[in-house]
Every structure is written in C-alpha cells, then in structure tokens.
Subunit: 365 residues, 2 copies
Amino acid sequence: MKASIATTSVPISLGDRSYSILIGENLISTPSTWLGLSKAACALIVTNETIAPLYASKLKSALEPLYERVMVLSLPDGEGYKTFETLNLIFDQLLGSGADRKTVLFALGGGVIGDMTGFAAACYMRGVPFVQVATTLLAQVDSSVGGKTAINHPMGKNMIGAFYQPELVVCDLDTIQTLPQRELSAGLAEIIKYGPIADMDFLDWIEEHLDALIAKEPQALAYAVQRSCEIKAAVVGADEREGGVRATLNFGHTFGHAIEAGLGFGVWLHGEAVGCGMVMAAHLSHQLGLVELSFVQRLTRLVVRAGLPVQGPKLGAPEYLEHMRVDKKAQNGQIRFVLIDKPGHAVVMGAQDSLVTSVIEQCCL
Amino acid sequence: MKASIATTSVPISLGDRSYSILIGENLISTPSTWLGLSKAACALIVTNETIAPLYASKLKSALEPLYERVMVLSLPDGEGYKTFETLNLIFDQLLGSGADRKTVLFALGGGVIGDMTGFAAACYMRGVPFVQVATTLLAQVDSSVGGKTAINHPMGKNMIGAFYQPELVVCDLDTIQTLPQRELSAGLAEIIKYGPIADMDFLDWIEEHLDALIAKEPQALAYAVQRSCEIKAAVVGADEREGGVRATLNFGHTFGHAIEAGLGFGVWLHGEAVGCGMVMAAHLSHQLGLVELSFVQRLTRLVVRAGLPVQGPKLGAPEYLEHMRVDKKAQNGQIRFVLIDKPGHAVVMGAQDSLVTSVIEQCCL
C-alpha cells in the first residue's frame, strides 16, 4: 500500500469571509473534512454528468449524517453550459424542493461547476452558504481562491457574476487520478502562471517536477496545489475586489479569453487558452522591452512540455482585438494587458494596437 | 410661488458601504445632487416606459456634464417584468455598448426598476456602482434603504438577488406629484408599517397628517419619507444581512407575498398587498394574545383611510399557506410571521396552521 500524504490546510484570510482550503487524499470520504460547516436542514450537491457517476454518491454518503436532506443535481458538462439557462436549473431545483435560506450548496466539479454553483449561492434568496469540492487541477489551483463566481453572456465570458466566498474548499487529490490528461495540462497552465507573475523559485520547482505532475504523483500535486493557493491567497488578500494587484492573476487571460470567445467557448479548454495566452503576453512584454527573449523562450518550452498549445488559432488580429476590448480589465475601450516587467513580477498596462497586432501575427498559426 | 422646502440628507451607516439619501424638491435638475459620485466614462439610466417620458431627459441632461456617454434604457413597466429576461436587457445594453466595469447605473423609477437595476449593478462584471433615483413613494420609503436587490422567479418573489448598496439615493419629491393616487396609497402602506413595528409616535403623526399625505403636500411627504428612512436605517444598520431584527421590516409581507403570488404578480400592487397583509398579521397577533383588538381596529381604520384594501382575495387557506411556505423567512418548511407583540414592537415567530387558517378565513372576501 502506498504511503498516504499529510493533509494540509491553506488559510484564506478575508476578515469575516475567511475560509480554509484542505488539500489531501481521500478527503471526500473522511468525516472530519465536513465538520464545522453551517448547520442546515438541507444540502444540494451540484455536479455534472461526467463527475456525478464518479463522486456524487460518495459525497452524498459523507454528508447524509449532517443534513436531513441531501439532494444531487447533475448538470450538462462543459463551458458552453455556463449560461443563465443552466444556472436557472439550480434555482428550479432549490425552489421546487422548498430549500430555505440556510441550505448549503456543494459544488462538486471543476471551474464551470464551481463558478455557477457559487453564483447560484450568491443569488439564491440573496445568499446561502457554499462549499467547493474541486475535482479538476485547474479548479484546485485557481477558482479555489478568491470567490470569483460567474456565468457567461453571449457577448463575453464571466460577464455576469459576483464576488462570493465559500465556507470551505476541498481539494481531494484522488479526484485528479480520474482527470483526463488534457484537463490535467489545462490545470498546469494556471500553476505555471504563478511563476512569472510572483515566484521564480516556484517556476524552478515546476520545471523540475513537471514530469511528476504529468504522472499525477500525489506528493508533487499536493505541493503544486498548496503553493499555487498560497500565492493566489496573498494576492487576493491584498485586493479582494480587484482594484489593483489582483488583476495580475489574469496573466495570459486577455489573449486567452479572446481565443475562447473567438473559437466559441468550450472548443479550447480555458487552461489551454491561458497557456497559449501566456506565451503571447510574454512576447508582448518582450516587444515592449520589459523582458529578455530568453525568458519568453523558457516559458514557451515549459508550456510545450506541459502539453499545452503555444500557437493561437488564426482568427485575425482585428477579431482578437475586438474580443479583448470587452475584457473586464479594459477601461473605456482601451485594452489593458498583464505583462511581465521582470521575471517574477507583473504589471497591468496598455499597448499600441500595432504592437499587439504584430504579436498576434507572430503567435498564431 | 410656493415656498420650497429644505433638502435633507439621511445617512445610512454601513461601514465602507455607507451612503446618503437626499430628500427634497427639484433634486434631479440640481447639479449639486450629482457631485461626489464615482468617476466613470459611461453612465446608463435604466427606467421604464411610464417614467421615461417624464424624467429621463431631465436626468440625462443633469448627468451629461459628468460622463462622456449617458445612455438611457427604457424597460416595460410592472412587477410582471421583474424577470431574468428583462434583467438581461440591461446586460445586453451594457455589453453591446462596451460599457466597462466603472460604468455607473442609475435606477430611475420605483421599486421594480430599483430592484432590477441594483441587481444588474451587483452582477455586471461582478459589480459596478449604482445610484437610485426613486420616483415612487414606496421606493422612497422602502427600497431606498437596505440594499436589497432581486428579480422574481416563477416559483417565488424576490428569490434571486443580492445585498448590494447604492452610492446615493435621491428622493425628488416632485416625482410624487405625477404619481397615480393608487401608487401613492401603495407607498403609504410601507410608511404606516413603521409605526406598529418601531415607533408609535410616528403612527400618531401619520394619523394626523394622512390627509396632507394623500393631497401630496411636500412638507408632509418630506417628513414621512425622512422618518421612514431613519427608522429603516436604524434597523438595517443593526442587521444588514437579515440575520435577525431586519426581518421585522417584513411586517405584512408574509400574507402580502401570498396575495401577490396567488393572484399573479402585478394584479395587486405590492403596497396594496402589504396594507392588507398588515391587517391580517395584526389579527394573527391578536389571536395569539399579543395585542388588543382595539389595536387591530386602529390599524385597520388607518389602512382603509390610506385607500388600501383590508380584505384579501379568496384564494382559500391552503393556497395562502402554500405560498407562505416558500417565503424566505420560512425555515425548513415552517412559516415564520412578523407579529406585533406590543404596539411599536415586532417579533418573528411561527403560528399553528389552524390559527393562520382562521385568520385567513376571517380576513378574505
């Protein structure tokens, strides 16, 4: 029998909205994981049709001693379903079953389920508690911290949402073992991201342990999740509502969102778009004289090794620019990019359309 | 020329979400009303097709010196339109025009416009500033304080929403002069409410000045709006997210919501349902031995004088009970009522179905 790894807890300090992220193995089935949550008569597990057969009954069994009723709602799987229509299925379930305003919502899934369930919790009767059980690497290292919840609008990704903090986030590393390799790579994109913007020692560690991460070794996964959450927690703790430094977490996301919107949400995984977007943003940083070409090349090699695309789809620069202008960081039509001004540090700034166009032409097939 | 009354400002103290309510005449056209708001390139006035011809261009002119672009969106009028579909028209307008996340939303209208615009502001890009220009008496004395925003769901009123505070509330008493008498009466219901739950001196004042209020005398309106806001501000300041005492502001609303839901939203005005609901809740308080019959009779006389119904529609007790069980105050299927335990003080408690049924049978035509 393999040696099990110790469970770690990363505290997210946000005043009366503070909570913990638990990282470890077999957490879903361990009763102590669920102690200390809000008391309620009713709990609703929101999941999707891919995750439900794997973990829904396991989580339901674990929660049944704590609530009179534990309901499960399985939604269709994919970014394309992160819409108001799907969100409304959660409200229909809650209202149809007479769920009161103490009801606890459990998001069992990846980023899409977490974003929608969190937003449903923020809005149902003006706010009920929620708990995130993140089953993808991307959700564990990104949406687990910071309370961003949202749905997409046909005119833009994550345009309708709320800042709403969970009561607890559970990162059960066992769920990564069933994750398709393509989604594992997508999660690696957000892990890699923390290096250039905040911590070059972590980038060194990732380069050294990338093969172990791709092989899903629990010890490596545990550290990658923990360190990612710690870095994100420090940034979010300083700027919960994204007045300033929090925007640097969007490194790779401005180009990435344009790729997702241009191809139609769900064609590329979010992490794939972010991986490619980071390479494009690194090129733009270099074009502006902020970093050496060797840094761009180093990042590009790592993104390739992680199994992620480094060439964007050929949508044409005008379409990229159009999508980027509706990015939430844009101000009065001016696109603002997260750029690396030295390895381990990011800035948010504008760039001339002509320069952005040349980067797009250079980086897209 | 009539003597103009002094503008008063009621402070709403909610930490970093504090704001002021301005009460006075001709406020929309007075430039100083609008100083001190968040800077932005763009403003969107959300109003309805009834209010737009009266005040939209006046407000637009007042705001044009402050923003590069001031847009107006006119929605259909009525509680029946407080739906996701109408809410989405606001998002379509914002995204279609490239409005960024500093855009200020102005709600120009009554409670429905305020609730929807406030919720849109809470959700658009996870939160943009909003300002409420309340043009009905009900909105001035009720939704102006407390940051409750919401839309209706087919299965319940105000079920999807957020607590989200405005930057400023403007109660221009001139707008009451164009208010239909039926809507004035609806506003009086919420004013009367503050007496039984919090301030019997104010109830005395209302009894004395009801004719002046019905005649829309500005001095009387100004005091009624100011005192109502002060009482509500004290309650909300003590309990912003309705953990306890704030629920007492729902006096008359449990029965009232059942009337609105049972008849279909918009058949009775919200204030009409609340007026009748207060009489029913007073009867229930009396049945439980909490208040004298004379108190019930005094309240009933005042509600009648205000031009409001005191007999509910004959939906049958089972239908009333069914609607009341989805009330947000209900816990695990148990209906909780706001009752008067002594004149000027309210409690939140349950009551036996048999007793509630007898009150419904007594109070419904």
